[in-house]
């Protein structure tokens, strides 16, 4: 395997691409007890249109999440969770807009757990009955999200900001769309996007890297299969079609999501650089060390729940901030006004250096979290960038880039506000 040592970060990473096309990444952490493995595919809720073996498919919304649930079923009534549990391991999965991840963490029996993870994710087994039964469970999950203000406020925002991009549709789909899901559709999606070539295995802990690669070879085989090709028919202008969306729910205080629609940055180093520039721009504009934050906090327009950053999903990107506020409209106006000032006047050299030092330090600290590190490594790998190269990238960023970004993005016509009011005030 290919070994890279990152001196800046005191990390050693082993990498290999197997004959079957699977990328394996092992972050070796000597002296730690916990081991964590992520097995991911870059197939998420927005990928409902694709071609496979010369045929075009359009599958119902919510299928990626449904598939994630059903992959835990195995033939012969085997119970994957119980098998992990008998080894003291914890397993789970999540579905995002553009990625689905399966993972386990353990302190012992690592190799057996890894085998099991690879085995269950690569073994589709769906029956009419089990697929039908899952509807009840996912319906409850949809119901739970309907009561969660954080989910509702973002779904409303995405629905208002985008005209055709499927981020408009909740990750779980709807009660209606999930009724259209059949075992056949699930098998097709699995065949299209769960091929080794389309996946990544990322492991962190005190483990033997070559043994990990060997296990992946043994379980997944060496055959290389063609993956599905995603269709991205969505066309988006950067202007938002709807600037304001409001709803009432059982919440204590009015809450808001405020977003500025950005052009999609694509993948590769340039995209990641743009992402880091955007995060620094967010910091300069409304971060805790900004003059705007102090002013809004002292005026009582925001509180410590306020925060934000740059969010990207395959095909779209936005600068987002959120929090509780009695006057979200005033927050929006203040952010717009301050954005214009910064775009015109830029930020000071000293302030910029301090912000960079802080951002770099926070990223280094976050490497202590196995989960955050594994997740970031996977997400950046999908975007074709080596996450551990972030210190070098930070050093290259110039303050003019922050100014230019703010000038491009903080505009009235691509700004959207989603607010949820308490029921009583409605």
């Amino acid at each position: 395997m290919n070994k890279t040592h990152y001196r800046d970060l005191d990390e050693t990473v082993y990498r290999i691409t197997l004959e079957n096309g699977l990328d394996v990444v092992v972050i070796r952490r000597e002296g730690f007890t916990k081991k964590l493995a992520y097995f991911i595919t870059d197939f998420g809720s927005i990928h409902t249109d694709f071609t496979l073996e010369g045929r075009e498919y359009h599958v119902p919304a919510g299928v990626a999440h449904y598939l994630e649930h059903k992959l835990f079923d195995m033939p012969d009534g085997r119970d994957v969770s119980a098998e992990f549990a008998s080894m003291g391991a914890m397993t789970n999965a999540f579905t995002g807009y553009d990625m689905t991840a399966y993972y386990f963490s353990c302190t012992e029996h690592f190799e057996k757990c890894l085998r099991l993870l690879l085995e269950f994710v690569s073994t589709p087994y769906f029956t009419e009955e089990s697929v039908r039964k899952e509807q009840g469970i996912i319906d409850q999950e949809i119901g739970m999200n309907a009561d969660s203000p954080d989910s509702v406020i973002f779904d409303n925002l995405a629905g208002a900001m985008y005209t055709s991009h499927p981020i408009r549709v909740p990750i779980l789909g709807t009660s209606e769309s999930i009724r259209e899901i059949t075992p056949e559709i699930l098998y097709t999606c699995h065949r299209a996007f769960y091929t080794p070539e389309n996946m990544l295995l990322c492991i962190i802990g005190d483990v033997e890297p070559t043994a990990c690669a060997d296990i992946a070879r043994q379980v997944l085989g060496t055959e290389r299969r063609e993956a599905g090709r995603k269709l991205r028919p969505w066309q988006e202008e950067t202007a938002v079609p709807t600037a304001l969306t409001e709803e009432s729910m059982e919440v204590a205080m009015p809450m808001f999501n405020l977003a500025f629609k950005c052009r999609d940055g694509g993948i590769g180093e340039a995209a990641i650089r743009r992402e880091m520039v955007a995060d620094l721009a967010a910091e300069a504009l409304f971060g805790e060390s900004s003059s705007l934050y102090l002013r809004l906090y002292e005026e009582g327009l925001i509180d410590s729940s306020f925060g934000g950053g740059f969010e990207t999903v395959d095909g779209c990107a936005m600068l987002l901030c959120s929090g509780d506020s009695r006057d979200a409209g005033a927050v929006r106006d203040a952010v717009l006004a301050q954005g214009e000032i910064l775009a015109r006047e830029g930020i000071g050299q000293e302030e910029f250096a301090r912000m960079k030092r802080s951002a770099l330090g926070r990223r280094i600290r976050s490497l202590d979290s196995f989960d955050a590190t594994c997740y970031r490594l996977c997400a950046y790998h999908v975007a074709k960038f080596d996450y551990f190269d972030f210190p070098a990238l930070y050093r290259q960023i110039r303050r003019e880039e922050i100014q230019a970004f703010l000038g491009e993005v903080i505009r009235q016509d691509n700004c959207c506000l989603s607010v949820i009011y308490p029921v009583k005030e409605a």
Partner: protein, 431 residues
Amino acid sequence: MTLIIGKELFTIEIIELFPNVTLRCFRDTRFKQGCLSFQLVGQMTAQDAAWRALLPSVLLRGTGRCPDLRTITQRLDTLYGASVSPLVRRVGDCQTTGLYCSFMDDRFALPGDRVLDPMTEFLGELLLDSPVEQEGFLPAFVESEKSNLISTIECERNDKRLYAQNRLLERMCAPDSFGLPRLGRPEQIRAIEPIALRRSYLDALQTNPIHIFYVGSAPAEEVARLLAPIVRGLSKKSVPVPPQSGLETGVPGELTEEMDVTQGKLCMGFTTPITNRTEEFAAMQVLNVLFGGGMTSKLFQNVREKLSLCYSIGSVYYSVKGVVTVSAGIDFDRKDCVREEILHQLDACCRGHISQTELTAAREALCSSLRATHDSPGSIEGYYATAALSGLGMTPEQYMHAVEAVKKEQVVSCARQMELHTTYFLRGESR
């Protein structure tokens, strides 16, 4: 005094900096960040809960050198993005108030630069150099943090599961300190004046024991040397924290509330005489995991997986007080059958219907999380700093050995000692 706990790989050095000012150090060079927590330890009471919850946020608003939030954040930015956050803990009868610092390890700093020294200095400033007006904290700071705290409390109802859980405990433990809301009540917070708040704080600095915890790469003597000037003269009139007491329960019964929600929340509270200070503690923990602690538990496997009666279900064991709660997200009309099924699963435990697989899974899950305790500064601080207050007299290794030795009969005996006390149900509004 220096005391070393644990003979294995990990040791905690306990240094009594001054009487009742205790520094616990966990030296570890594996991490990229260190943490330092400072806690004043008091009793959880209706009078004190609110000001203790408010205090840290007021301390974080400004110091002599950094007069506002912006200059504070700029200072933290210079310390490579260090963070200081409010630390308010409830551990059984105790409530603590203080600050929690996380900061990058010195080895990643620019050549010649240090993080721990200026971090400790800044912590001292935040604790002891708040701007003062007429003997009180600045009214503007106090007022805005009061309204922030009130909105934090009010926003607890946004998370319906947590809300239901809190309502249950409030009712079930009404005569006990455990029934008090962790952060006080909004009306108590509204009544806090800047002068009274500062007086309560200065008084606590003298009368409350102080617990400081450090995890990181520096040797204990160095941390002690940095902290000594800050804590010298504090805690002079304090007495040690009294031991934890048993739970006093309220009147048993059922409570239903209505809200505009799509999904109902059923929450059931059980009592048990077993606490973290009793012999059967490890067996009780195993029972909790086996009954409702995760995806392999009886509740998850039967109520959710087999019967599809809910999306979420799980149990929590509050070991300091001897309370177990079960909560489930359900359809409104399924309350009775879910309740029956939960009791049915507990009854199965009482009757010894526990498979070897279930028992192994529960023991392994607990051991696995105990083994990983030493893998992050946050979990190290959380485990030991809490254990010092809760009366749990075991290191993670000792705790693990106790769990490994648990037999099925002991688990059954624990199940038989659980008694249903209160049921709470949150449902949609009847129209």
